[in-house]
Amino acid sequence: MTAIRDTLLEEMRRDERVFLIGEDIKINVWAVTRHIVDEFPDRVIHAPLSESGFCGVGVGAALAGLRPVVEVMYLDFVLLAADSLGNQAAKYRYMCGGGKFKVPAVFRIAGGGSTRGAGCHHGQALEATLMHYPGLKIVYPSTPADAKGLLTSAIREDNPIIFHEHKLLYRMEGMVPDGDYTIPIGKADIKRHGSDVTIVSYAWPLHKALSAAAKLAQGGIEAEVIDLRSLRPLDMECILKSVEKTHRLITVEEGTKMGGVGAEIAANVAEYGLQYLEAPVKRLAAAEWIIPSSTYGDQLGLPQEEDIVAAAKELVAF
């Protein structure tokens, strides 16, 4: 969260057009934007509980030449703003014939990680839902450094962009480069090199994949772990290059399986990389479930580290 806050501050200092709008962001339930208002009292605005409305306001402010960073408190609530994002932000430029019409707005959304009994309306991983709209860009960092790099790029990006944040990663610690640091949007990152199986993931499950890879290495299986970083555009070039080397692919996500991110990746590999595969593609995702509201239940349907290990062994033995 500090990486995100520091990036917001740096960009707000750098560009006076950047401002923040969202529910309770002066203090902020995620503590990310907390205290930014102290330095920029006029550029941190509390939105009323009106997701559709204030995302629309973000579109308008961006059209007018400002650079809003809109916060949606929970990814689950984004469905209220489906029109503002999928129909308006995504399509405004094209609909108006391009030119001076553009929507340089960032929509920061906290998602995934239903814990402490938060249940089915506070913990969904709905990022696949938003992938279906040409006109939007989507990024999802998995580390503090990537959060800084991607957020900086997102704020400087002239197109509407969704910046997903995983709630359980807010507390994650890591090295963050000083100064001006950007990561290109649309480029995945190989977080661990290997040659026996490719595991593609992002956000919280990525770290389960890395733990699984460490376990697999003990058994002699070297996994290549790719961090997507960007959902739209999707870096299929990186994935295909990896599968060409390893011949085996596992995707891991927290959202439900049908129509998920893994589905898109698997289809792409079947279409453009069938010749590389020596085993079927394995998609690990949440069960086709509705998240129960209990600490007992809310992890049961999710892919865990042992599932990833088992899947890799299965593919290697195929």
């Binding site: 306001v57 579109v59 809003p68 006109g135």
Partner: protein, 335 residues
């Protein structure tokens, strides 16, 4: 304050000294002929999502005339009076509606017309979606301490959309320079106001958001102009938003397939009653009665309007379509 570059002259403001009512008459007539032309094109098989302006020419023409060139305008689906009123060129409007690359949106937007120089800010196809967007523009204007005003049009049916209520609340809390102009024509496609709206007047809805509402005769352009001018002055002075509700009526159906009295949702008698209150005829009668113009002038205006629309049709029909790659690949993103 950023002023738009004068990409095109607004034909309706060529004469500064003429009476306002004459300007309204000219623009309402041009709107009428443009609308007739579009109806004609639709029957010829051109695919245009036409929602005829007939009978409702006055409000948008007069409202836009009360604005400054740098003010932002969000239109809605009903007709073309806002296009003419804000200074759009019928040539480029028709070209856009026919999907030609010479149109305002390079043939990509069609009825979702937009022009940055004229501050015509695009027209979402989802009812009410533009209202929070208009609020966002107004918020930006206020944050930058500019003096522009934002106006957005919608119908009484559209005022039921959640987005409109969210936008009104925000516009009021933030006291942004926004004018909501609601054209109440009594029908949302086939649904009457009584069936769908919980209040008698949309202006009343402002009370829920601490926004003043005024009701005007939507077929009297001078009344509309006065109300919008006052609302704009209020907004520019930091007084926040206003709702201007214009009571009016659409003579033709909601869309082209809705011919006159389809299914009997309204009566022939009702339509004929309102035809007697046609804003163009009323304006003409007043101009002549008060000697603000004579028959010769009015005939000249009529002729010029017809010729303008005929030339526009010719231009649009002669214009090329965009190439496939332009349509499929360009302007989705800023590169």
């Amino acid at each position: 304050m950023r002023t738009p570059s004068t990409g095109q002259m607004n034909p309706s403001t060529t004469s500064v000294a003429e009476p306002l009512l004459l300007r309204f008459y000219r623009d309402m007539l041009r709107t009428r002929y443009l609308d007739d032309k579009i109806n004609e094109l639709v029957t010829q098989g051109v695919g245009i999502m036409q929602h005829s302006t007939r009978g409702q020419e006055a409000t948008p023409v007069a409202a836009c005339a009360a604005l400054e060139p740098g003010d932002y305008m969000f239109p809605y689906h009903r007709g073309w009076a806002w296009a003419i009123g804000k200074g759009m060129d019928p040539k480029l409007v028709l070209a856009e509606l026919m999907g030609k690359k010479t149109g305002y949106c390079k043939g990509k937007g069609g009825v979702h017309l937009a022009d940055w120089n004229l501050r015509v800010m695009g027209r979402p196809g989802v009812q009410g979606a533009h209202v929070p967007i208009a609020t966002g523009i107004a918020l930006a204007v206020k944050m930058r301490k500019e003096k522009d005003v934002v106006i957005c049009f919608f119908g009484e049916g559209g005022s039921n959309e959640g987005n409109v209520h969210e936008a009104m609340n925000m516009a009021s809390v933030w006291k942004v320079p926004l004018i909501f102009v609601v054209e109440n024509n009594g029908y949302a496609v086939y649904t009457t106001t009584k069936e769908a709206i919980s209040v008698e007047d949309i202006a009343q809805r402002g009370q829920a958001y601490n926004i003043p509402g005024v009701i005007v005769d939507g077929n009297d352009p001078e009344a509309v102009h006065g109300a919008v001018k006052e609302a704009a002055g209020r907004a520019r002075a930091g007084g926040g938003p206003t709702i201007v509700e214009a009571k009016t009526y659409r003579i033709f159906g909601h869309m082209t397939a809705d011919t006159f009295y389809a299914g009997g949702y309204r009566s022939k008698q009702e339509v004929e009653e309102w035809q007697k209150k046609d804003p163009i005829n009323r304006a003409k009668e007043k101009l002549l009665r008060e000697k603000l113009a004579d028959e010769t002038q009015l005939a000249q205006i009529d002729k010029a309007a017809r010729e303008e629309i005929a030339a526009a049709e010719h231009f649009a029909k002669e214009s090329p379509f965009p190439a496939k790659e332009e349509l499929l690949c360009q302007d989705i993103y800023v590169d």
